[in-house]
Symmetry: C2
Subunit: 690 residues, 2 copies
């Protein structure tokens, strides 16, 4: 447990007087013998797997088959030199591309699958395997290909898509600069239009503006989509994207300089590099002109007048990358949990219950506490991710952002949800992989047992495609401004000023959660004392708790921003001081969405063991989420200490109920056996001789 | 922040009515402009560094100089093959040994320094550099050398110490087996005494009993200290240690089989291996006979009759390893904090306070919240580690455990403290390195910026020299049994039965913390309402909170164990259900010791800026520790919600006060510049062009 917080524990004396049926169900205070009257469900693993795989089962199975076929790459990662491994990863990516796996999101006329949802599903599933392959696919087809598709128009599609979908042309996505990571709007590379030659001149003005950490740049990319400040006739129009050749037949072209970023913590099969441009000329048509055009005569045209809004609309079309990374993090966590859970069911340590035989790890209460809430949360995030990718599919299968019928509000909501889910999913991966590694002891440290690569490779997920804290600020902005049109036009200063200009009630009333909180009285019995009398296992109670927290936190942020600015403080300083609230509100919002997704999924299932099983997981997830922030709920009058302790007891009881199902629950993830490796952890008779 | 808990936040409305002077000091609700009336101290960096270095300043500076001289090894780690890097690490270890650095803990007559405290200080400081070098030193001089010194007698010392101190003879410590990690008493290797030849026959009876993860085994060790079940005349006497040659002139000797463990997550400069023994014969004198002897005629003799007690006494002499790993973890965290804090003072991101200039990261409230409590905790753990290593020096400079005047109670207390500090120190390292990596964004992912190696290399610290959870159980056993003589004679079953046999009051009254809690009334003004009226910044209040928690948790564990066993449950099953309480109590105990160490260190300083500065850090550490577990304090009636919110506000206010001192505070750690690397993070003009 990589935290110094003393883990929450249930108290020793069951002082809670049963107040309601649900509290009565919490009869187990941790030492009584059995949970009487409870019938253990059994898990139909194929059925559960089918449920998890959902409508994109076929493409997921295609990816599983591809992963198994190229399983050797997991060993190559350990054994090859970096240079060789990069070539190997590139080869695997191209071979996978030929099966159609990586092109699902592109139009069929260019050899793609024409199914955005399938493209996300394929990418998520790829996270069961070597993550350099995953990230190389993400760079080539998601970032590079996605930019051509979303920011370019027909001529660019005709010129590039078929070759890039097939893997014949490799490209990179040159956005980030050394001096500008999360704040892309401030980047320094310049593209100046030369009306004489009808060309753009791409220049790196200073060291801070060199492109940095660019995947595919150091070795393989022939083309780059370069983000640069567009300057036409001495006037700046903000960041735009240009297709720039950087290699020709493997040789770096004149005017371009590329440097290898060198060894990284992980993902060393991806060739990250730095790029400098020294007055590199590209034709006028190199501008990806979906949202802006420069005429031959040097007139700048765009259907979106406001440059901030234009910029965020452009970026918004690239949201798929965030959805993909979040899903990849969740699936990487599944690999770690599969190994650690199966190991915990086999490994014995210490004679705990019998002097003659050591006890299986998963029978230890602490071990259950370490692994099972993470398992439940993985299910929760899986279903939440399903919702995001479904929304993405809907939005991106519809009209583009500047076309008639475009639903701008739905796009903003999607971007917010993608940002929040990415942050929670990738933090969850970091935490789960670490806990699982520790739960496998020293053996977890050997590379053959997968944790080494999982940990090193996923580490950067929390900061790429947007630093998680920055993404949560984006979520909070959306909440505070109700995804207003003004939204894109706002930096932190603007946001603080905007909120300060509204009544706090207005801010809160405009939020989606407000209406949900209003309806608490209808769903739970006792008016304003709903929190005291509802059953702990009532999903309406669990949801009401998370909704209350979210609404309260949003109101609190708005009030503080307003007061600071009313007092004449610098809006930036106000923001800095309120920043922890801003991020907490965004987390609370996303946690609510995650729980809603899980509850909704369980509700739609027919009665039966599968529903009972997922209900246990959903309860465990909901109650550990409340338990983790029980201090806040107590501070805000929504949890008595007795009830708080009852929640901790219920979490322990749920862990004991889920424990016999644990291996089935990880098997249902369908991680191919070849991806688990860990021969000694999973099949060798360790510790059976105790 | 690798956790899904919503970070604690101060509330928006300052509902707290000032109840006492200290609460009045909490006038800052997060948006008011300034902390008026507060004079910022300035930090005398050399003076603070001298304080941190303490009485072993000289040896620390020797290590710093050695690290700087061999700084190239940090690059070699990235660039060399594993085989070459292992040789390189070995060479560096031998070169360092020649300076006397690694032999401080051995008697002077064998070329050592005769100063155990200096030996710990040297090891801790080595953690600023490449950690394969550190671990290789730990294996050779700590584990292998320590076993010869502590478990052997004069003849073994004469035979081996001079050569091993000098690095001429390399050895390994063959304890762990594949089937037995933390539960060493159950290991399977057998040493049978053959009275005819007066030899021991060492045998690996099955695959689960092969020695595993043994450092120095795969390539370099000539000798192994092998732990095996001693069998004499058909009778088993428990685990004993034997010196067994495993290589001769670099060739593995007959009857021994060694296999490489293969690539690991980190520490690839250390050659970990597996060892099998096929009836390997060693002379009778190969038994390290400090605590037991087999006569030529095959009589078994030991000054300690009880085999459990004998085993734990033997293990107890090896406690130094745990103290060293804990200190190494704390110092590795210092490296990460130095880089992240200096970077945060330079790097600008987003125009937060001014439209013309991006804001420095460390001026963001959230960034302060992420880094500064970790900085404060690093100081706290540093001083706590000082206490442990001082106690170790005292105990090990005195009579041995079977000699007259030996203080057995002091040894048990030391073992417990070492176990707890090791657990907290290594978890702190994992968490701090992760947070610092994320706080440096994508740049933190490049190997040249140190986090890659820090993270991968320290990861195993949480499970080696004892899994942290198992170590905390050891701490809890000590607490529950008051380090009784019976202590060593107890497994989990025995401990549960022992505690069940006592009145709960007896368990609690025997604890050291009980007397401290008793004295709360003397130190704090208002009898049983001390928690409501004391000042938040009063160290007596802070200590009283942690002591109350500890005592309450110990009583709770005792009560639950007792009730379960009284109800006729299997003691193991009772233990399993109470296990989270057991571990929480041990953490609470260790947290109390850590805070006490910090408070005592500050109290002994003369008035002045240094004291003011450390006081700020101590307050920040104390209040974030209480804040992290504020739910528990609320649940147990020791914190009102208003006061809980006041603590969160005070934490924010302390962060703002410490922020201007942050770089000085990390500079005082004295991490050699060569060990930081990170050229671009620390000296390149990133982000200054916003």
């Amino acid at each position: 447990m990589a935290t110094d917080q003393v883990p929450p524990i249930a108290d020793e004396i069951p002082t809670v007087q049963p107040e309601s049926p649900a509290v009565e169900r919490v009869e187990d205070d941790g030492v009584h013998a059995d949970d009487s009257g409870y019938r253990q469900p059994s898990v139909d693993v194929p059925a559960l797997r089918a449920l998890l795989d959902g409508r994109h089962r076929e493409v997921r199975d295609l990816v599983r088959a591809n992963l198994a076929e190229h399983a050797q790459v997991l060993l190559d990662q350990e054994q090859m030199t970096t240079a060789d491994f990069r070539e190997r990863v590139k080869d695997v990516v191209v071979l996978m591309a030929r099966t159609g796996q990586t092109g699902m999101g592109f139009p069929e006329e260019y050899g793609g699958g024409g199914d955005i949802g399938a493209s996300i599903a394929a990418f998520e599933t790829l996270a069961f395997g070597d993550l350099s392959v995953l990230v190389k696919v993400g760079v080539q087809f998601g970032l590079f290909g996605g930019a051509i598709l979303q920011l370019g128009t027909r001529s660019h599609h005709d010129a590039y898509l078929a070759d890039l979908v097939n893997g014949r042309t490799m490209g990179c996505f040159a956005m980030t600069e050394s001096g500008h990571g999360s704040n892309v709007q401030a980047l320094g590379t310049v593209a100046t239009y030369d009306v004489e030659t009808q060309e753009f001149v791409i220049t790196t003005p200073d060291e801070a503006s060199r492109k940095d950490y660019i995947g595919n740049a150091a070795a393989h990319a022939e083309l780059a989509v370069v983000f640069a400040q567009l300057e036409v006739g001495g006037e700046r129009h903000g960041v735009h994207a240009f297709v720039v050749p950087v290699r020709d037949g493997g040789r770096v072209v004149d005017g371009v300089r590329i440097e290898d970023c060198g060894p990284k913590m992980g993902l060393n099969g991806v060739d990250n590099g730095r790029i400098w441009f020294d007055a590199v000329r590209v034709p006028r048509t190199a501008l990806l002109n979906q949202f802006a055009e420069v005429t031959p005569q040097g007139r700048y045209l765009s259907p979106i007048d406001n440059p901030h809004k234009r910029f965020f609309t452009m970026l918004g079309t690239l949201v798929q990358g965030r959805v993909c990374v979040g899903g990849a993090g969740i699936n990487a966590a599944k690999v770690a949990l599969t190994i650690a859970t199966r190991y915990a069911e086999r490994r014995r340590q210490f004679e705990a219950t019998s002097p003659d035989e050591e006890q299986v790890l998963l029978d230890y209460g602490m071990h259950q506490r370490r692994l099972l809430p993470l398992l439940a949360r993985t299910y929760a995030l899986h279903f939440a991710q399903d919702v995001v990718s479904g929304q993405l599919h809907e939005v991106f299968s519809g009209p583009g952002p500047t076309e008639p019928g475009s639903d701008e509000h739905a796009r903003r909501v999607l971007e917010s949800r993608a940002a929040g889910t990415k942050a929670l999913g990738t933090w969850h991966a970091t935490r789960t992989i670490q806990e699982c590694r520790e739960a496998c002891g020293g053996a977890g440290y050997l590379s053959e047992n997968r944790f080494a690569a999982l940990k090193a490779d996923t580490d950067v997920f929390t900061t790429f495609e947007g630093d998680n804290h920055v993404l949560l600020q984006l979520v909070a902005k959306g909440l505070l401004t109700d995804y207003a049109g003004e939204f894109e036009d706002m930096d932190q200063l603007g946001m603080a000023r905007f909120v300060a200009g509204l009544a706090v009630e207005t801010v809160v009333e405009r939020t989606a959660v407000h209406k949900l909180v209003q309806s608490v009285r209808d769903l739970l019995p006792s008016g304003d004392t709903w929190d005291q009398e509802a059953g702990l296992l009532d999903p309406n109670y669990q949801l009401a708790m998370l909704r209350f927290r979210e609404e309260h936190m949003i109101g609190s942020v708005a009030r503080r921003l307003k007061r600071g600015i009313d007092q004449g403080m610098n809006p930036g300083a106000v923001f800095s001081r309120v920043q922890d609230h801003v991020i907490a509100a965004a987390r609370a919002h996303t946690e609510r969405l995650v729980l809603e997704a899980f509850v909704a999924k369980v509700a739609e299932l027919p009665d039966g063991d599968l529903k009972v099983t997922l209900n246990l997981l959903c309860d465990l997830h909901a109650l550990t989420t409340i338990e983790a922030d029980r201090a806040w709920f107590m501070e805000h009058g929504r949890l008595s200490s007795a009830r708080s302790k009852a929640i901790s007891r219920e979490v322990n009881a749920l862990c004991r109920k889920i424990r016999p199902l644990a291996v089935d629950l990880v098997d249902a993830f369908g991680v191919p056996e070849e991806m688990l490796r860990s021969p000694e952890l999973l099949s060798w008779p360790v510790g059976s001789d105790g």
